[in-house]
Subunit: 154 residues, 3 copies
């Protein structure tokens, strides 16, 4: 059991089996030392959680929880990309987080913090990343949050 | 004639002369083995095709065709970045696809499949990429789809 | 005083002290020779300038100025990533520019040119980058423009 696996257990996170994409792409691609992880959402046991538009049909709290669950799914794919050993993660390089929200919403950073905080909680300083948090008028299947990631591994 | 050129001919795709950007940027930049290709749209013979908003003024079928034509323009720039030899493509690493759509639209993956399927059709397993598909309230000049790409070449 | 510092002085740009993120992420991450800079906005002296939605409450001219100020903040973080020496910049690789705008807006390229033109003004041919310019229904705190960057340094 690796250090990151222990950390996940400590904070009570059980990584799901990585979900397969709904189209002709793949969950991640490794090039050099960088892993590019496809845009993820708050899917749990094959079902989308926290569907809705922030500022309209979904609360800020639920949106943050949506981003956290999205982050868990990112880590699930990342573990797969690491051949099962998350201790190979050298640095979470960048997240791009999109929030399904209204034209007057302004708290995108708070929402995407649900994923960002998780990265630091799990990977410590290696989890500190560059980031953009922006709005989208709609996301696939009504997802409230979509996050893609670039991670450097050893 | 390279293997990929033969494949393009087989599936009836004639790559256009790469279009020049409408601003002070360039169509692609190569750094290390990675080529970053600027956001493309469904432009043909200097004219934008499939203008409109999916879920409102444009059908799903036209949006998929828009994404496919956008993918052809990406490959056109990629060929230029490869010095004309598309056999140098090692892996399509990542696509980011934006769909000009309404706040209630949810089929972004189906739309962007127009570009993703093309990559696999042309490059086979080397065309399998990480991807995000998201919504945008509007895109330049009324484009229905915009896709940017990162490709590893030899 | 480096060449780029001289160039900045010539065109009258004083780089601000890099602003700290409003969340649990960092302004930039370096991996290999690439610096990933977090999404920036038109912040000056800790205050957001040019708040609003282009095509509605903000003019095109103000949006372009917003993108230029955003570009200055990107260069400010980039200088930090270069250990203070902007002459280490080898190539601005890519910008992703998001415009807070209405569903009928179409001049995203003109807006993001505010940042793109600045890169070429400051870094010359090394400032020529790949780029995507797209719309967003809303951005953090009412920002009119958000731009993230990837830069190759020596």
């Amino acid at each position: 059991m690796g250090l990151i696996d222990k950390r996940l257990a400590e904070i009570g996170i059980v990584l799901p089996k990585p979900a397969q994409p709904v189209a002709t792409y793949v969950p991640w691609v490794k090039t050099g030392n960088l892993v590019y992880i496809s845009g993820q959402g708050a899917v749990k046991d094959g079902k989308i959680e926290y569907i809705g538009k922030v500022g309209d049909t979904l609360s800020l709290e639920d949106a943050i929880a949506s981003a956290r669950l999205t982050g868990i799914n990112i880590i699930s794919h990342l573990r797969d990309a690491c051949g099962g050993d998350l201790d190979r993660v050298k640095r979470v390089v960048k997240l791009l987080g999109l929030v399904n929200c209204t034209p007057t919403f302004g708290d995108h950073p708070k929402v995407i913090n649900g994923a960002s905080d998780l990265m630091v909680e799990v990977f410590g300083d290696k989890g500190r990343h560059a980031r953009s948090a922006v709005g989208a008028p709609s996301l696939p299947f009504g997802l409230s949050v979509e996050v893609e990631a670039i991670v450097e591994i050893e």
